[in-house]
């Protein structure tokens, strides 16, 4: 028998039992659909993440001070710092050849009571250091309305939101522009009863973007001013010596330099977040998700293969006489075996084709759904999260065919073993 005859005969046999063929292949379809969706998600998400992080720079390392392990009694309190980000450490990092940029960060204390005063008007506002930049890859800087944004090293400057100006009765672009370069006052009130006024120059006004993940603040100030604020709040002029910086952003020259720095600072006991390690974490989550989906798909394929075995065994009972006739006219056991294996493999292939098409459609649908969700949440992420590549399609079809083929081996062997005379007599 030539391959052409084999395929033709098998297809015609499957065509005789269309409903059964389709039903047997549905299991394969479900399995392949799951696996295809899973793998295309993996490919797509990896691509998207790599794409996003490429723009941000994987060379960025963010360091936090080490803290005491929380006990059940202390876990809700501010933990004691054990390894500090000191000025010496910052200088040491700055001195390194493989470091391009070092930016210490100070968090404005949580719960601090601050008001913005312009002229006679004052409103309570929230203040933070600049939260965007390389350390916050998913937060885009807000839109500039007037003046200029804060740059690292700015001291005595403040970057205000247009909302807070509106609350003070200063509406519109002109009001914003007229304010740039003016001194405004931040009035801080401590629980102990003291009040302190920090006079800052307006560097610019921004249009706040609501919705993107991360806190929203009314105003941003430079690190030196944040430190002064914090020192006064805690009534500790030497707070930098006692507590160090709250975080340190290091931008290494290359990816391997970043890895080297991660090693060094981890060795000193700091907490480290690098985009590289974030990427690894995301990868681990992806692997977990893929393993779960893969197990579901694998299970579906296992059940599907049993279904195919069942179909083929039934088919042998029904076609025993036919097998006898084929043997009587000269079919060898090998011919019979090939015919049945081919039929089973084709059931797998048919299921696989349907699964790939189904998986492709599902991926398109899920993609649209995710994009719609992200747009709704105003997350500035777009792209394709499910990517169906050629090799993925080929792999899925090959796998489906192999599943069918393996399922066909046992029934085919049974068919091939039939004695021609017994088969001919079978009613």
């Amino acid at each position: 028998m030539t391959l052409k005859d084999l395929v033709k005969t098998s297809l015609s046999n499957l065509g005789r039992y269309r409903v059964r063929t389709v039903l047997s292949s549905v299991g394969v379809t479900v399995g392949i659909l799951t696996i295809v969706t899973m793998l295309s998600l993996g490919v797509g998400v990896k691509r998207e993440i790599a794409h996003v992080l490429e723009g941000v720079g994987l060379e960025t390392v963010r360091i936090r001070p080490a803290t005491e392990e929380g006990t059940p009694l202390t876990q809700f309190l501010q933990p004691q710092r054990t390894v500090l980000i000191t000025q010496e450490f910052v200088d040491e990092m700055r001195a390194r050849q493989d470091v391009i940029d070092v930016r210490p960060e100070i968090d404005v204390p949580w719960g601090i009571n601050i008001s913005l005063r312009i002229g006679d008007e004052a409103i309570p506002i929230t203040v933070d250091e600049v939260p965007w930049g390389p350390a916050e890859p998913f937060a885009a800087p807000p839109e500039l309305v007037a003046g200029a944004g804060l740059v690292p090293g700015d001291e005595g400057k403040i970057y205000l939101s247009s909302d807070s100006l509106t609350a003070l009765g200063l509406e519109g672009r002109e009001a914003a522009e007229s304010l740039v370069g003016q001194q405004v006052e931040l009035v801080v009130q401590a629980p102990r009863g003291d009040t302190e006024v920090f006079s800052l120059q307006v560097t610019g006004v921004f249009e706040p973007k609501y919705g993107f993940d991360g806190p929203y603040f009314d105003a941003h100030i430079g690190v030196a001013d944040a430190l002064a604020l914090k020192a006064w709040w805690y009534n500790d002029p030497d707070i930098l010596a006692h507590d160090g910086y709250d975080a340190l952003m290091i931008r290494a020259a290359t990816l391997s330099d970043a890895a080297e720095i991660v090693n060094i600072v981890e060795g000193r006991g700091f907490g480290v977040t690098s985009l590289q390690s974030m990427l690894e974490q995301i990868n681990q989550v992806m692997i977990l998700v893929q393993t779960m989906l893969g197990s579901v798909g694998g299970l579906a394929l296992l059940v599907a293969s049993l279904g195919i075995v069942n179909t083929m065994v039934m088919s042998i009972y029904e076609r025993t006489r036919e097998i006898g006739i084929l043997k009587a006219v000269g079919a060898s056991p090998g011919n019979i075996r090939l015919l049945f294996v081919m039929e089973a493999a084709l059931i797998g292939l048919i299921g696989g084709v349907a699964g790939v098409i189904g998986g492709w459609l599902l991926s398109l649908g899920l993609n649209e759904g995710i994009l719609a969700y992200l747009a709704w949440r105003e997350v500035p992420l777009t792209g394709t999260f499910f990517v169906l590549t050629g090799w993925l399609v080929a792999l899925a079809l090959f796998f489906a065919t192999i599943v069918g083929l393996l399922a066909g081996l046992y029934p085919a062997a049974r068919a091939a073993r039939l004695e021609p005379l017994d088969a001919l007599r079978y009613e």
């Binding site: 005859d5 006898g324 006739i325 084929l326 043997k327 009587a328 000269g330 021609p420 005379l421 001919l424």
Partner: protein, 230 residues
């Protein structure tokens, strides 16, 4: 064509036995059959049911293996053969005609006839050319694309005969070929076999219990209880 006119022996069986297991007991279908068929002979194997005549035919056709004894067809010993040899034998040396025709119902007449050549790897075009020639020869030139259900019993048996001939066998084995046909049609089928025997020198072995059918043969071999009577 009388057997004496040929000295070339096509089929030789000696001391052929065949024991079937029936539950816990055994049935001896053949108890030592000796038979010799010359090339070009037309032989009828007759006997009551259970005499073992079909068993002899199946052993000669390589559909079954003897329990003991020897059977040679066209120089090949079938008794000790492996499956491969038996398959080749069925494919190349013999053609079967059955009582119940045994056509594949979903295939057309020409597809049924062409089917055996698929296993001999004959190109598809040649297979159908040959099938059509044979179907015309058996008088079914107008029925090429009919399916078995659209054909009468006599026509189905003609298709089966064409299929048996498609591989150019040296030996045609027919097991009660007229058993499912009325006597007039049965006679036509036997006349066709006789014609093939006389015009093409095809050796024919027909199993029957019908004396009228046996009358078409050159020689009648009678079996009873697994022995050759005469």
């Amino acid at each position: 064509m009388a057997a004496e006119a040929k000295d070339d022996v096509l089929v030789r069986a000696s001391g052929l036995t065949r024991r079937f297991k029936m539950g816990d007991s055994y049935v001896d279908a053949l108890r030592g059959v000796d038979l010799s068929v010359a090339r070009g002979e037309f032989i009828a194997l007759v006997g009551p049911s259970g005499s073992g005549k079909s068993t002899v035919l199946n052993l000669i056709g390589g559909l079954d293996r003897p329990t003991g004894g020897e059977v040679w067809v066209n120089g090949t010993a079938l008794s000790a053969s492996d499956e491969r040899t038996l398959t080749r034998h069925r494919r190349e040396q013999v053609g079967f005609v059955f009582q119940s025709f045994n056509l594949l119902p979903r295939l057309t007449a020409e597809e049924n006839v062409a089917l055996p050549l698929m296993f001999s790897r004959v190109p598809e075009k040649d297979r159908f050319l040959r099938a059509r020639v044979l179907l015309r020869q058996v008088g079914l030139g107008e029925r090429l694309t009919h399916r078995p259900t659209q054909l009468s019993g006599g026509e189905q048996q003609r298709v089966a005969i064409a299929r048996a001939l498609v591989g150019r066998p040296v030996l045609l084995l027919a097991d009660e070929p007229t058993g499912n046909l009325d006597s007039a049609i049965g006679a036509e089928i036997m006349a066709l076999l006789r014609e093939l025997n006389e015009e093409q020198g095809l050796t024919v072995l027909v199993v029957t219990h019908d004396a009228e059918v046996a009358a078409f043969a050159d020689r009648i071999v009678r079996l009873r209880d697994g022995w050759v009577e005469s």
